[in-house]
Amino acid sequence: MNEEFFGEKRTSLGESVRTFDAFPKTRATYTTRTPRGGAITLLLLLTSACLTLTELRNYLTGSESHTFMVEPGIGHDMQINLDITVAMPCSSLHLNVQDAMQDRILAGELLSREEVWFDDAGAHKLYSEGADAETERRLFSSLVGKGAGEGGGSCRIYGSMGVNRILGDFHITAKGHGYWEDGAHIDHRSFNFSHVITELSFGDYYPKLVNPLDGVVSKTDENFHKFQYFLSIVPTTYESQTSGKSLLTNQYAVTEQSRKISSHSVPGIYFKYDIEPISLKISDRRTALLAFVVRLVNIVSGILVGGGWVYGLFGTLAGYFRRQRRTTDGMLNGRALGDEE
């Protein structure tokens, strides 16, 4: 067997295709291999392996892109999720939503209430340490452990409710103050609107969503104190391109204002929210497989060619300075002048 091994049968087809070979190989007899060349090759291979790994990691992790648009579609409702503990008994609290439509939403009927002990330490820890099992257990026991009959003097209000998706005001006030209700008038000395917000969010839960009010504690010793939170709600769509799923939920920005008020005003906790017209879209994306492969090829070939060229250049320079003449080998083949020494 000789040259025919590559299927180079002396047919006319093989002959004609062969003339296209743009990669003429040098016969083994004319090429040399040197230890230095081998070391360089190894180094280049290592480098490309490193870069390939980095690229692979980027490819697998994917990237996150943020875009925005004027919110499409016609909105109707929005969900408020709330978990708040107020240092007053449930029986004296009044929950209400009023909005730009002049609708009144009886939040008291939509949210659950239970008597608990006021414990701000647990809530704050829960916020700063995330899913810490110990604090969570402590908070849970401090909040739920006391039965409703026992009464802790504080009220935990929690649940979800649907509201109109427009400018609105959700507030917790004392019964008999602010609204004309046929309820009892509560003693002013029992007013204490200190509170712990365990959660306040709008719309569905998403792991990356950070609600700035979660775990916030506000305390007061005054009976007449007004806590106000001004919320700007930004509709946000989380989209995963790999799974093709998307979730429409809301983020919000908040400013807080609290002050002592006169006994003629209505004390309480007020959440005033408005919806921004521009919505965000956060999408997780991954480069296409083909693009990734092209990139890999680019990197590897770039390193090999570039490395070989630099190696060759060094050899050329070395030869030039020594004013020696040598027969040369093709640099693109990774062999250089100095190798033949």
Binding site: M1, E3, F5, F6, G7, E8, G14, V17, R18, T19, F20, D21, A22, F23, P24, K25, T26, A28, Y30, T67, F68, M69, V70, P72, G73, I74, G75, H76, A100, M101, Q102, D103, R104, L106, A107, E109, L110, N164, I166, I275, E276, P277, I278, V294, V297, N298, V300, S301, G302, L304, V305, G312, L313, T316, G319, T328, D329, G330, M331, N333
Partner: protein, 399 residues
């Protein structure tokens, strides 16, 4: 240049002498395949280079004193045009009552046919009382008459306007000479079954405000905006504010290549069976511009478009108030005016959609070089692998 020249020594592309070269069929195949790959990739690069991207930017809207153009086209199948009024009010205190300029009311035949009525066949008013004595001066029945006619109410319409201006209910014009002569009451009754289409353009101040379509003439009374609802409720026919919004936009349309949802309210429909029912649309208007390729900050380009997008929330309630039928815990306010209200708010942000080339020419050249170089190098490596592998196998067989 001789062999010893300095340039020769710097040659990074050393050539193998022709004798030492081997050409193989596998090499030929690899070459052809790699040329094909190069061709495909270069075509891809070229298309990427020619592609025009629309990149949205968000800036604070710094324009001042602009008017907000509104163009609308709404059909009410259960209310005659005679009863409908379009008003605009805004926070600057400006009011435009009973807008007719730029707005066309088209009478529609009774629902469900709802075809345009030929206006010549039945005209409610004769606009001018030309058949009358030139010295004729109609009474305004105690209301101040229009100034253009020296306080004379020449037509039934004039009397109605005069009544509305001081907040008197007009009714069907019984005992009013002008209206009886024009057979206003009879014609009104004839039109009871009809529907109405409101279409046209209006321009409002770019501040928070609302425009609404409500029944009856509107007037201001003690800082309150009031509509004369007398005829709407007096009717024996069941008028409702069921409506279809064919089109509602704030400025010209963006070109088709901008990927935004166009006017969200277009082709939306709201139905009610109740006479006293209020539809409310909360609209937030965002300024938007479209800058075609080659636009710079200060030069005017013919294709540039200044327009507005909007987001909307819709709500409805019965004027009777009370608990919502679907959401028992929602208590609606009582009272108000039946009609369709559009409450608009202006966003401080502006979206600029700018056309850009996805790649610069230099980027395109770099891409082409990368494609060619990368592909050929890889092909060379493959080919070399094949060649040397083959040699080894050959040696093995020989050995």
């Amino acid at each position: 240049m001789g062999r010893g020249s300095r340039l020769t020594r710097l040659d990074a592309f050393t050539k193998t002498v022709e004798d030492a070269r081997v050409r193989t069929t596998s090499g030929g195949i690899v070459t052809l395949v790699s040329l094909f790959v190069v061709f495909v990739l270069v075509v891809g690069e070229f298309r990427e280079y020619r592609r025009i991207q629309v990149l949205p930017e968000l800036v604070v809207d710094k324009t001042r004193g602009e008017q907000l153009p509104i163009s609308l086209n709404i059909t009410f199948p259960h209310i005659p045009c005679e009863l409908l009024t379009l008003d605009v009010m805004d926070v600057s205190g400006e009011q435009q009552s009973s807008i007719t300029h730029g707005i066309h009311l088209t009478r529609l035949t009774p629902f469900p046919e709802s075809k345009p009525v030929s206006t010549t066949s039945l005209n409610v008013h004769e606009d001018t009382a030309s058949h009358l004595d030139p010295a004729y001066c109609g009474k305004c029945y105690g209301a101040p008459g229009p100034e253009k006619d020296k306080g004379c109410c020449q037509t039934c319409e004039d009397v109605r306007e005069a009544y509305a201006s001081i907040g008197w209910a007009f009714g069907k014009g019984e005992g009013v000479e002008q209206c009886e002569r024009e057979h206003y009451a009879e014609r009104l009754d004839e039109m009871r079954e009809e529907g109405c289409n409101i279409a046209g353009h209006l321009s409002v101040n770019k501040v928070i405000g609302n425009f609404h379509i409500a029944p009856g003439k509107s007037f201001s009374s003690a800082q309150m905006h009031v509509h004369d609802l007398n005829q709407y409720f007096a009717s024996t026919k069941e008028h409702t504010f069921t409506h279809t919004i064919h089109h509602l936009s704030f400025g010209p349309d963006l070109p088709a290549n901008v990927k935004v949802q166009r006017n969200p309210l277009d082709d939306s429909r709201q139905v009610t069976q109740e006479r006293s029912f209020n539809f409310m649309y909360f609209i937030k208007v965002v300024s938007t511009s479209y800058l075609p390729l080659g636009t710079s900050e200060n030069s005017y380009i013919p294709g540039a478009i200044e327009t507005h997008q909007y987001s909307v929330t819709s709500h409805k309630r019965s004027l009777m108030g009370g608990a919502d039928k679907e959401h028992a815990s929602t208590i609606h306010a009582r009272g108000g005016i039946p009609g369709v209200f559009f409450s608009y708010d202006i966003s401080p942000m502006k979206v600029i959609n700018r056309e850009v080339r996805a790649k610069s020419f230099a980027g395109f050249l770099t891409g082409v070089c990368a494609v060619i170089g990368g592909t050929l190098t890889v092909a060379a490596a493959i080919d070399r692998g094949l060649y040397e592998g083959g040699m080894r196998v050959k040696k093995l067989h020989q050995g």
